[in-house]
Every structure is written in structure tokens, then in C-alpha cells.
């Protein structure tokens, strides 16, 4: 399993911020809000807005701008899908929270790192949430499965399954799978990823409790 490092409060100008290193991916997240837009139609529920940017040096190989833009849009959409069930948006009518994610380095699966960073940053910002979201990736190589794969391992995967859950509540927010596998292999990978989410959640919780003990939350 790849190493996991996390910290909060890395961007002092933001309401909440976090940095995550997971499986070779390094992701920064900053939370700004609550923002009020008078042009917005009245809604009893708040909104989450997510923007993802890749550093120009984030990938080992040069990529076309269109491919980077597509990857950014995809990660942003999935981060929103994973966090929307967890945030108590009904507590923030007619306002929005901005989640800004910066991918410093892409290695292994970026999406779980982005979701974990955003979840930790939202908790650091004291945004009302139902539970802390943990996300993990599992790769299937046919005979074997690996949780939190490194970049080298991810390159040989037949299928990748990414799951985001709220382990404290035992609830699943997002399941995404890409690559070929039998339905049984996919469901086994989902179960393994749920367990990985629990491990990540414990780590994120430890970081938040340490900061709270220092009086920095």
C-alpha cells in the first residue's frame, strides 16, 4: 500500500485548506466561502463549486492542453459527486462554497487524493458535514488486487475502482470503475476499496484531532 501523508491549515488565506500525498499524488485544496451571489436564483440549499487545476509539471509526460482540461473537468465533477451527499447544504441557503484543488503531482489515482483533500479542507473550514469522506482506489490485475496503488502499479492495472464513503456512518457516496473486469471482480474490488476508505478516514481523523488538540482548528 502506498504511503499517506496529510496536513491542514497549509494556506492561511483560505477558510480551510489541506494537503494530501497518496500513492505518489500530491494535491492541495483550499476552501473559500460562504459566498453569496445576488444573481443566483433563490435556493433553499447551498451549492458546492469545484475547480481543479493541474500544475504544468504534474505529469511525467507532456500532455496536450485539451487532455489536461478534460482531466480537470472530470476530477472536478467527481469530487462534487462524492462530497455533495456529505455536506449539509440545507444549512447554507442561497450561498455557495468554493473548493479549489491544485494537483501538484499526478501519481497513481488522483481522484481519491483530491476527494480526501477536499473533505479534510471542508472539515478544517468547519463546514457542516454529515461525516468525513474517505476515498480510496483499488486496481485489479486479474488475479490480484491492490489498494492505494502506486503509479507503477496503476500502469499495469486491468481495471481501477474508486470508492468514496463516509466510514463513520457506513455510507457510500461514489463508486467509479474503469477498465475491464467481471462483475464479481468489480464487486470484490468495491468491498476492498470500502475497507481502504476506512483506513484513510482513520488517518484523516487523526490529523484533525491533532490540530484540534493544538488549538489550531
Amino acid at each position: 500500500m502506498a504511503a499517506v501523508h496529510a496536513d491542514v491549515g497549509v494556506i492561511t488565506a483560505a477558510v480551510g485548506s489541506a494537503v494530501i500525498e497518496l500513492g505518489g499524488s500530491r494535491v492541495l485544496c483550499a476552501i473559500y466561502g460562504p459566498n453569496v451571489d445576488s444573481r443566483q436564483e433563490f435556493s433553499g440549499r447551498g451549492q458546492l463549486q469545484c475547480d481543479v487545476q493541474y500544475a504544468t509539471f504534474a505529469r511525467r509526460r507532456h500532455c496536450e492542453p485539451a487532455a489536461i482540461a478534460e482531466a480537470q473537468a472530470e476530477v472536478a465533477a467527481d469530487v462534487l459527486a462524492a462530497l455533495t451527499p456529505a455536506v449539509r447544504l440545507e444549512d447554507y441557503p442561497k450561498t455557495s462554497w468554493a473548493i479549489n484543488i491544485f494537483v501538484v503531482q499526478e501519481g497513481g489515482a488522483v481522484l481519491p487524493a483530491a476527494i480526501n483533500a477536499a473533505s479534510l479542507a471542508l472539515a478544517h473550514a468547519s463546514v457542516h458535514m454529515r461525516g468525513l469522506v474517505g476515498a480510496s482506489a483499488v486496481i485489479s490485475t486479474g488475479d490480484d488486487m491492490q489498494v492505494h496503488p502506486t503509479e507503477e502499479a496503476a500502469g499495469t492495472a486491468l481495471a481501477t475502482v474508486i470508492v468514496a464513503t463516509m466510514p463513520a456512518l457506513g455510507q457510500t457516496c461514489l463508486v467509479r470503475s474503469a477498465g475491464r473486469a467481471s462483475p464479481v471482480q468489480v464487486l470484490d474490488a468495491v468491498a476492498a476499496a470500502r475497507k481502504g476508505c476506512g483506513d484513510i478516514h482513520a488517518h484523516l481523523r487523526k490529523v484533525l484531532l491533532a490540530r484540534a488538540a493544538d488549538g489550531q482548528l
Partner: protein
Amino acid sequence: SAPGPAVARIAMVAAAEAAYIREACERGVRRDGRACAEYRRCRFAEDTAPNAAGCCELHLGDTIVAVAVVPELSAPAPDRPREGRFLVHVDGAAPGTELMRLERALQCTLAPGACGVAAEQLLIAEGAQCWDIHLAAHVRQADGSALDALSTAALVALAGASIPKVGPGAPASDKEPGPADVEGDLSEATQLRVGGIPSVTTLALIGGALVADCDGAEEHCAAATASVACDDSGDVCAILAVGTEALDAETSDRLLRAACKAAASRRAALLAYLQSQ
């Protein structure tokens, strides 16, 4: 008949109506009288774009989509020198964010490594030339299950598409750098083997019941949806399960299992249709 202007059917669902739909689905009753696992009437029309290499217009209830296949000569990606590509473009009568979601989801099912032998069939010269298959999709009217409809129409259009049969010609000389010529009679065409190209089936969780082929209002009321892409062999090529509410593990597994089963069953029906053509 000539196609009319694109129409967006935006589901405006009041809270009381949403509660009615959820309770009815929980009791196994839908507004149009269908059972929870029943699909709307589906109609194909395959000669709607004569200029394209292949095309299909699909009517799934009040959802109408059209897909045209346009092959274009290109070079393979450096990390996949033995394969061509499938590129998806979606436009039409739906909000921009929804069209982008449909385009990303459809592109994900046709990504490298997910298309089986179909991508290898597009190769002309290893590392030098291949066909890029552009799938131009248009959502003329959206009333639920647009992703399923687009995926099915894309598969039928690809199955009927004629790709010119060409081979690599003389390599470019040192004095004239550039891509190699292709040679062959462009009137000769080859059919793609589409068995490995996945098609998408979506199940929704509404009021505790698993509902297939949601219309616009039912989609609005769904707590979660699971879209599964599978091919002829039953392999799962992509899954996307999201929702406005988080699900407990048991419900989530039930939704995923049922979605995989529904995808395989619907794929078998689609295969039977393609074989009958």
C-alpha cells in the same frame, strides 16, 4: 419527416409530486403504468444521415437522440501504437453541464482499453496511421435515460458503419517528411466488430425501489443512480454510481448487483436486435 428544432424537456417537479413518485415506485407503480424494471418503447431509424459512415436515430419514449459515425485518418497515441480511437462529441437540447456529463460518460465507455478488439481494427500502420472514429451525438429531446439512449444509438451506428478498407502505402521519403500515404479502394469497406464495445444501462434508486429507464421526472427524484457499461462477454467496462444521498453498504451493493444484471440482460436484447439486422 424533417427534424424539428431541438426541444429541451426540463423536469419541473414540485415537492409533492416528487413525494408521490417516490411512494409510487416503492409500491411498484409508475406514472405511465410500467413496472419498475420495464423499459419504454424503443424505435431505431438507421438512414438518417447519408453523409456519415454510419448513423442511428433512437426514440426511447420521449427521449430522442441521434448519433453519426465519421472516420478520419490520424496517428495512434504514443502509448497505444496498435490502436485507433473513438472520440465523442455531444450537443443538443440540454443544459451545457448535462451535455458535458453525457460526453464524459460516453467517452469513458469508449476509452482505450475498454473497447476490446474494435480499437485494434482501426489500425492502418503501427505507430504511424490509424482511423479516429468521431461519434457526433445530438440530443434532440431529453426526457430521461439520455446516456442509455446515446450509448445504444452509438453501438447501433458503429455496427452499421462502413470503414474504408485501406493499407499503408509507400513510406514518406527523407526529402518529403510527413505522414505516409494510404492505398486502397475507398469504395471497399469493412464492418467493425462491435462485440467488445460496451453499452450503458442505468438503474435508479427511487423510494427504495430499483427503477430502470427513468423519465425526466423520475430522474429528478432518484436518490442515487448506477450506470454500468458492459459488452457481449458480460465484462463490466465502466461503472458510475452517484447520488444526492449517500447509501448504506447493503443498499449500494444491491444497486450495483442489479445494475450489472440489468446491463447484461439489456445487452443480450441489443445483440439479438443487431443480429437480426
